[in-house]
């Protein structure tokens, strides 16, 4: 048994459904669009990634930021390189602990190039020149930046 009254199963009159069908088949796309506009789900309000340097993006806001280590400022951010992207100069300050979370990257630190694959963890010394080339579809590097306060 229904808990609410069934609404008209098959229409109450013969003419009504035909008229309704004709009206619906004649519905212009503009009318559909108007209804669509009212039912659009939400989209992310703000970008989560912003440009760090040509070829590389990073988290718009840190995933973690703390000054609880005496004399040190610590931030965690994700670096993202899209398809066929390379960053000749990655402007990060302080020591950086990097974890390649997905993709494959060619990482050049102070002129020395190393191929890094998902799961690799390495340290970039403070002040080192850093370049990264993405060798996969997308490369994501989680970076912990440690700099003196």
């Amino acid at each position: 048994m229904s808990c609410i009254a069934p609404r008209r199963r098959f229409g109450v009159a013969f003419v009504g459904p035909i008229a309704l069908a004709l009206a619906l088949t004649a519905t212009p796309w503009s009318a559909v669009r108007a209804q669509v506009a009212q039912t659009r789900p939400q989209q992310p309000a703000a970008p989560g990634l912003v440009q760090l340097a040509p070829g590389i993006m990073w988290s718009a806001t840190p995933l973690l930021v703390t000054d609880s280590i005496p004399g040190q400022h610590v931030e965690v951010r994700d670096l993202v390189l899209g398809p066929n992207q390379s960053a000749a100069r990655v402007p990060l300050t302080g020591f950086v602990l990097m974890e390649l979370r997905s993709g494959i990257a060619e990482v050049t630190t102070n002129g020395q190039t190393t191929r890094r694959e998902a799961g690799a963890i390495w340290l970039v010394p403070s002040g080192a020149g850093l370049a990264i080339r993405n060798l996969a579809e997308v490369t994501v590097i989680r970076s912990t930046l440690i700099s003196p306060r």
């Binding site: 669009r33 209804q35 939400q42 989209q43 990634l49 993006m57 993202v80 694959e117 799961g119 997308v138």
Partner: protein, 531 residues
């Protein structure tokens, strides 16, 4: 224009390529629509007409309380199973241990077990898979001359909940047969969410366990459709030498074979295995010979060393894309894998090597098998729906290693035949937060229906049908202005044609039958909607 019978012959020639020659059902006779589990209603109806779908509204709703039956209160009320529809009737199992039959006006017809008989419940109440009927039924067109409803459920008369398969007359609700025990309560086994698939004159069903406490070896059984007895000649598939590999999803069937996905394996922290069991068929998609049960291939993307419980809990979908037949399923860790169907019989070679060689793509793109990364009990458990060359999935996005759970609230449309770079057809963000937020999608001729934990049922039109509502970067979180400059692609935002508020969280699959949409909620209602 071909005459109808010639059109059918032509259609058969095409469908033979997939594996069978039969008319597609306007009903929704089993979990995910068909044995291939495509969740794709191919027939035209009001639900496939983008001009009519915006008027989608509720026609009726029904709750077991209408006939005096109760939810289970503190143990988690409502439906874990999805409805099926066959010849003007709706069949659905409830966690209270009853299978109900309604007509399409929402009038109660019968229940099994009938009033006065004990409900099919277990004494285990650990999660929404365990207390009653969580198994979506399947319709068998003919058992002993009548259509039958086949489902898995605990038997309270047998060790407080041994799992069996039941076949009930679809017209009268009387029992036709009850299978031998397939899930031993003593061994902590259960049928749970596993829904039977009917093919080759057999019923195939898998088992898992109650909340991994303790974990047990998953199994796949084959039963004779006419009698419910174990099918002769079929060796029960066992997923592990010791423990692990539970079949938390449901088998798919095509081309005479069966495809399953398996759950987590036995590891030091779960099951007490200090070394990898041999064999270990956990965390795998596996194709089995439907006659003998022999393994044809096995695809295991997450190796034992990285097994932190990323069960492969989503049902595999077998589909015929323009680039070939493939099997696709999201995995709990947020990655979706698509494999070529491969051979239909054992080759004599190494099934694991063959399975790895059949991988067509992984989304987001990754090197397989994984050698690192987080592969844990993230909740990507929904099966994908497939339509033409498009896979609709609740899966981690291109940013899965940035935010592994962000995909809970997104529906992705993936191009099955494109390059990795063009895999994302579109994606859509939904409001709310869940575990995941979205239920399992269904599709009919390019219009996708999906429910959410905000108690809302959505209808979304692929941009091939209705102009897009805008565009966004295929990498979530990247602004449109930065998208192309960073090598990403702008993708359309599909139009949402309708959203209808219902009674509770929608974790299940909407059934799309003859212009009706039937869907269950965890509030214990089944809702019927039409445009």
């Amino acid at each position: 224009m071909l005459a109808p019978h010639r059109r059918f012959v032509a259609w058969c020639l095409v469908s033979l390529w997939v594996g069978g020659c039969h008319r597609t059902s306007r009903d929704w006779p089993m979990h995910r629509y068909n044995a291939a589990r495509t969740a794709n209603q191919p027939n035209k109806s009001a639900l496939s007409d983008p001009a009519r779908v915006p008027s989608l509204h509720e026609i009726w709703r029904w709750h077991p309380a209408a006939i005096g039956d109760q939810d289970l209160g503190a143990t988690g009320p409502g439906f874990s199973a999805s409805p099926v529809v066959y010849r003007g009737r709706v069949y659905l199992g409830h966690l209270n241990g009853r299978l109900y039959a309604l007509d399409t006006s929402g009038t109660f017809l019968w229940k099994y077990p009938p009033a006065g008989a004990a409900a099919l419940v277990s004494t285990s109440m650990c999660n929404p898979s365990s207390p009653g009927i969580a198994s979506t039924p399947a319709i068998a067109a003919n058992i002993g001359g009548s259509p039958a409803v086949v489902f898995g459920a605990p038997d309270p008369a047998s060790a407080n909940g041994d799992g069996r398969v039941w076949a009930v007359n679809a017209t009268t609700g009387t029992l036709i047969w009850r299978s031998p025990v397939v899930a031993s309560r003593f061994n902590n086994e259960q049928i749970g969410y596993d829904s039977p698939v009917i093919a080759n004159g057999r019923v195939y069903i898998g088992i898992s366990n109650h909340c991994d406490n303790p974990i047990i070896a998953g199994k796949l059984f084959a039963l004779d459709l006419a009698t419910g007895a174990f099918a002769p000649g079929f060796s029960t598939f066992v997923a592990s030498a010791t423990r692990g590999g539970g079949l938390w999803s449901s088998p798919a069937a095509a081309q005479g074979d069966v495809v399953v996905t398996t759950g987590n394996g036995c590891v030091p922290t779960n099951g007490g295995c200090g070394t990898e069991p041999s064999p270990n068929h956990a965390l795998s998609m596996i194709r089995l010979d439907g006659t003998t049960g022999a393994m044809i291939w096995k695809f295991q993307p997450v190796p034992w060393a990285l097994d932190y419980d990323p069960d492969w809990a989503a049902i595999p979908a077998f589909h015929a894309a323009s680039c070939g037949r493939m099997m696709t399923a999201p995995m709990k860790d947020g990655y979706t894998h698509a494999l070529n169907a491969g051979p239909a019989a054992p080759t004599g070679g190494d099934p694991a090597a063959l399975g790895l060689s059949l991988r067509r793509w992984t989304f987001p793109q990754a090197s397989i098998p994984f050698s690192s990364g987080s592969h844990g009990d993230i909740r990507y458990t929904r099966g994908a729906a497939v339509w033409n060359d498009v896979v609709f999935a609740v899966t981690g996005g291109r940013d899965v290693t940035v935010s592994v759970t962000a995909g809970y609230s997104r529906l992705h449309a993936l191009n099955a035949c494109a390059s990795d770079h063009e895999r994302v057809r579109w994606w859509l963000q939904f409001p709310g937060y869940g575990y995941p937020t979205l239920g399992s999608p269904s599709v009919t001729r390019g219009i996708v229906y999906v429910g959410t934990t905000t108690d809302t049922l959505y209808a979304i039109a692929d941009p091939d049908l209705v102009p897009a509502a805008g565009s966004q970067c295929d990498f979530p979180g990247v602004a449109v202005a930065d998208c192309a400059a960073n090598g990403f692609r702008l993708t359309p935002i599909p139009a949402v044609l309708a959203r209808v508020r219902l009674s509770g969280h929608i974790r299940t699959t909407p059934a799309l039958a003859r212009g009706w949409l039937l869907v269950t909620t965890d509030a214990g209602f089944v809702h019927a909607l039409k445009p």
